[in-house]
Symmetry: C2
Subunit: 172 residues, 2 copies
């Protein structure tokens, strides 16, 4: 068994071993680049949210953008613009989740911690935390819908995933 | 069978149906928020790259950040900072892939297309395309390693995933 704090080398070795098994029986070598279902999912980076499994997404079906919180950040809008303009996606599904780390801090608290731990002054940088889960989904639906980079009329759906139950519920 | 261009409503209905099956037998309701393997994966949004499956990542094991290209964008660094400072991750694994859309355009071409399709002038916005796959991985390893938001000494690993074969190869 691995020790309780496995080294980075051991995780890389694990990934490569797992991947060798995955690639040994690989049926999907001819999938095209554009997502088959013309959709993009924007979700949190949380380790308990395996997006394709939770939503039952098939290989090649949907783009998947993830970041801390599943927020409609400027960079998420960059990804959505590329997805829509070059690869034909037409709808966005936003997934936040219960017990999210973004509910546990303020910008000021994180700035203090970065200053304390790394000696770096982040100024007034917004790390996009939120205090209300439903509101964060609704805010991000609006941000995507109103972005000039996103095609007018794009359908934007919102969800909260419950890490305690595995259930997805619709928001908005 | 669905028509060739399923409506957005039908995709949402599919997600909810798939999720009901997923949640019907859900064993992981008590996983803690911090990733068990103290690691974060940064990968492309490509629809053919189901990160957890390709790397064999267990539920709760690793944060997963994804964007167009799997780039070390400012927003990816935001996510890494939150992951490291608040949730204890200590290493980063960057995954780009063959046949990536980011190899197919320049900023000027995308800016022209956005202007043509949406009537919006994006100015000199950088959409982070790249012309060389190995170099893009190496560039992003360096960007993460040198970021003041990232803990000094963080191990940063790079990979290219082959969408044609399912195989992962190490870069750098």
């Amino acid at each position: 068994m691995a020790t309780s704090e496995p080294s980075s080398d051991s995780l890389q070795a694990e990934f490569l071993k797992n991947n060798a098994q995955f690639a040994a029986d690989f049926p999907d070598g001819n999938l095209p680049m554009p997502p088959a279902r013309h959709a993009l999912v924007l979700a949190c980076m949380d380790a308990r949210l395996h997006v394709e499994k939770v939503l039952g997404i098939k290989n090649g079906a949907c783009h998947c953008v993830r970041n801390a919180g599943g927020r409609a950040s400027d960079d998420a809008l960059r990804s959505i613009a590329i997805s829509q303009r070059l690869l034909g996606t037409k709808e966005v599904h936003i997934v936040h989740h219960t017990d999210c780390g973004m509910l546990t801090f303020t910008n000021e608290q994180l700035a203090s911690k970065i200053k304390e731990d790394l000696g770096v002054d982040v100024g007034d940088r917004d790390f996009l935390p939120f205090a209300n889960l439903e509101k964060s989904v609704l805010d991000d639906i609006r941000t995507v819908s109103e972005s000039p980079f996103v095609a007018p009329g794009t359908q934007v759906h919102g969800y909260i995933y419950e890490v305690e139950t595995g259930k997805l519920r619709v928001v908005g």
